[in-house]
Point group: C2
Chain length 404, copies 2
C-alpha cells in the first residue's frame, strides 16, 4: 500500500519497546492505551487450539461490558503463548495483572495478544520488566512504531487511515495489522487493530467489525493455515463527539464504507506481503447455488500448490485451475456449464478450452503482478471471492528457516 | 523400493514405444495386452473434470461385462486429454478404434489412459502411427519398460511383485504405478496397473481392488491436488488355473494380504518419489469418534504447507502440527485430551507441551528420513492414517518449470 499519513485517533495512545523476546534490540512489545468509556469489539480465531491470550482477551472483553471498560491492548511478538496449556493462561494473566498494577487499572481492563512461535513458555518476566517504559512512552503519534512492532515474518509494516466528513464533522478511522504466513483467517485475521473516534455502542460495533472482517480478513489465504492467535479488534474511542446510533442512514453508510476500505487495505496488505509472494490474485467464483460452494471452489483454487506454483512461474497452465474446480467437492457439478477467465480472457467455455483462446493471451495476463481468476459455474446467482498469492521458493525458504 | 525382479503374469504382455508426444526419443506410449477371458476392475478419479480417457475406460469396462472382455490398455503420457470437452472424447475413441482395427478386436475392448498436460488436444495421429510397432513389440518380459514408459515427473519407475503359494500352487501379483505430483487420490490413484494370474470373478475383483486401493493409493497425499486422470486397474488373467472363489478362507486371506502389500508398495513409492520429497512421513490419527474425522485431521496435517516446510527443514516446530489439528474443523474437539507423538517421543500431552519433552528428542526424530506423526484424540476408538512427504524448494522448481 502507498506510504500514507496515519490520522491519530483522539483517546488512543501507543508505544513500542524491546523486551528481548526476539533478538536483543528488536521491538517486540506494543502497548495500546484506550481512553475510559471507549467500546471494543473483537473477532477471534476459530482454531480449536486457540492461544491463551485469545482466551483471556475474549474473556476480559466479555467481562467488561458493564464495567469501566477496556483500557489496554498488550501485544507481544516472538512467542505465541499457544499450545501452552494451563500455564499459558496463567502467564497471560500475570502480564495483564502486572500492567494493571503499573497503570492503576483492573487486570480485566487489559487484553493480551501474542504472536510468534507456538509451544514455548511465554517469557513473562521479560515482558513485565518493560511495562513501565511502555507506559512512559505512550504517544498519540506512535502508529508507525506500533505497526512495525507487531511484525513477525512481515517484511513491511501495515497500516491504513481514512478521514471522512459526517454531519459536518471529521471522523477518523486508523488501523494496523500484521500477518504474512499461516494465513487463512476464519472469522478473524492474524492481528488487526482498527480504531475510530466515532462513538459506537457495543452491539453496532460488533456488527460493524464482523461484517467488515468477513469480507476482508476472512477472504484472504496465503497457505490455508489458520493461526492459533488470530484476532481483529475494532475500538471506538467516542472522542469525536459524534454518535453512530444518532447518524442518519447516509452517515452510517458513509462510515461503513470508509471502515470497509480500511479493512480491505489492511487485509490486502497481508496478501501483498504474503511469505515469498510475487503476485496478488483475486479468485472470483460466480453463478453458484450459494455463497458456500463459491467460497469452497475459490479456496480450493487459491490454496492449490499446483495453481500457486503456476502463478509463481507466470505459467498460464490453466488445466491446474480446472482440476482444482473439479476436485472442490461440489455436488452434481455440471462441468459442461463452466467458464473460466483470466481477467477478461476466456480460457474455458462449456467445460473445454475456449475456441478463441491462445496461449499468448493467457501469458499476457499471467505476466501481470495483479490479476483476477474468474470461474462462472452456470448454476445459480451466488458469488464469492478470495485474495491470494503465489507459492515461491521464498515461501519454502522463509518457513524452513523460521526458527533457525 | 528395493530393486526387485518382476514376476511376469501369464496372459499379460506389454510394450513401450516413442510416439513423439513428449521430446523425440522419449517413451510415451505403453500398450498392455490382456488375454481373452481375463477380468478387469477399475477405480477412477472423483474429480468432476474427469478426463476423456477415464470416461471411455469406465464406459468400455462396463460395456464388456457380458462380452468377450477387455483386451488392451492403451496408455500415453505427455498429454492428459483432460479439459478437452467433446473432441477429447472423440480423440480417445479414435485411438481405441485404431488399435481395435490393428489388433482385430472391438473398439470397446480397449481402455485408454492418458497423463500429462491438461487442456491440450490429444495428438491422435502420432499415437495411431506407433500402434503397429507397439503390437509387434508385445512381450511378457517388458514390465520395466512399461513402468518407465508411464512416468511423467516421476524420477524412478515404480513396480512391485509378489509370488505366493496357495493350495500348493504359485500365484503371482505384479503391478506398476506412476505419480509424483497432483497427488491426492480420491477412490483412485494417479495410474496404477496391477495384474495377477489368479482367476477372479468381476464382483470379487472389484471389491478386492476397492479395498486395497482404499487403504493404499487413497491414503497418500503430496499436495492435496486430485488429478483429472487417476485410475487404478486390477486385472486377473486367470491363467494359473486357480479360482479365487474356490479358495478356502485362508487362501483368500493370503491372496488379499499379498495384494495389499503390492498396492502398499506401489502407493508408498509415489510418496517416496513425491515432487521434491526428501522425507516419507506417516500421519496416524487415533482415538477418534469415526474414521472420517481421523482422516480429516490426518489430511489437514499432511497438506499443511507450514507442516511440510518444517518437515523439509527437519525442524521439530510442533506448534504447526498442533495448529493444523486445531483448524481441521472437528466438532467440539477438546484439546485438553490431545496427545501428539513424533515416533515414540511424546510432544504434546493434555493439549500442552509434554513435561518430558526436549527439543533434542524432537530433533532426533525429525532428522530421520522416515518417521510417524501420531495424534491421539482421546474421544473414541476410530483411527486412520495417511502417507505424505515434505514441501521443498524442488517441489516449487518442478511445478514452476513443468511446461517450460
Amino acid at each position: 500500500m502507498a506510504k500514507q499519513n496515519i490520522y491519530p485517533i483522539d483517546g488512543i495512545r501507543m508505544s513500542a519497546v524491546s523486551a528481548g523476546i526476539k533478538k536483543p534490540g528488536k521491538v517486540d512489545v506494543v502497548l495500546i492505551e484506550i481512553c475510559a468509556g471507549a467500546s471494543v469489539a473483537g473477532v477471534y480465531t476459530q482454531n480449536a487450539f486457540c492461544a491463551a491470550p485469545v482466551v483471556i482477551a475474549r474473556r476480559h472483553n466479555e467481562q467488561n461490558i458493564e464495567q469501566q471498560g477496556l483500557r489496554y491492548f498488550l501485544i507481544n511478538t516472538g512467542n505465541a503463548n499457544a499450545g501452552t496449556g494451563e500455564s499459558g493462561i496463567e502467564n497471560a494473566l500475570s502480564c495483564c495483572a502486572a500492567l494493571g498494577r503499573d497503570a492503576g487499572v483492573d487486570t480485566t481492563s487489559v487484553l493480551p495478544f501474542s504472536t510468534g512461535v507456538i509451544g514455548e513458555p511465554l517469557p513473562v518476566e521479560k515482558i513485565i520488566k518493560v511495562l513501565p517504559q511502555a507506559l512512559d512512552n505512550l504517544s498519540e503519534a506512535s502508529w508507525s512504531e506500533a505497526a512495525r512492532g507487531i511484525m513477525t515474518t512481515d517484511t513491511v509494516p501495515k497500516s491504513y487511515s481514512r478521514q471522512i466528513s459526517i454531519a459536518g464533522r471529521k471522523i477518523c478511522i486508523s488501523g494496523i495489522s500484521k500477518g504474512a504466513g499461516m494465513i487463512k483467517p476464519n472469522m478473524a485475521t492474524m492481528l488487526g487493530f482498527i480504531f475510530t473516534d466515532l462513538q459506537i455502542d457495543r452491539k453496532s460495533l460488533h456488527e460493524l467489525n464482523q461484517a467488515a472482517a468477513n469480507r476482508s480478513f476472512n477472504r484472504i489465504t496465503v497457505d490455508g493455515d489458520t493461526s492459533t492467535n488470530d484476532c481483529c479488534m475494532l475500538t471506538a474511542s467516542g472522542k469525536s463527539g459524534l454518535v453512530y446510533g444518532e447518524l442518519d442512514e447516509t452517515g452510517q453508510e458513509a462510515f461503513g464504507q470508509a471502515l470497509q476500505e480500511v479493512y480491505d487495505e489492511l487485509a490486502q496488505a497481508i496478501i501483498r506481503d504474503g511469505e515469498g509472494a510475487s503476485k496478488f490474485v483475486t479468485v472470483e467464483v460466480s453463478q453458484g447455488q450459494d455463497e458456500n460452494e463459491c467460497l469452497q471452489i475459490a479456496y480450493t483454487i487459491a490454496e492449490s500448490p499446483l495453481v500457486k506454483t503456476a502463478l509463481f512461474a507466470s505459467d498460464p497452465n490453466w488445466g491446474r485451475i480446472l482440476a482444482a474446480v473439479g476436485r472442490a467437492g461440489i455436488h452434481e457439478l455440471d462441468v459442461s456449464k463452466i467458464a473460466i477467465y483470466l481477467d477478461d480472457v476466456c480460457i474455458v467455455q462449456n467445460g473445454g478450452r475456449s475456441p478463441t483462446y491462445t496461449e499468448a493471451m493467457g501469458q499476457a495476463v499471467m505476466d501481470k503482478a495483479e490479476f483476477t481468476i474468474s470461474i462462472q459455474l452456470g448454476r445459480g446467482q451466488a458469488s464469492a471471492f478470495t485474495w491470494t498469492c503465489d507459492l515461491s521458493y521464498d515461501y519454502v525458504r522463509i518457513n524452513a528457516e523460521y526458527r533457525s
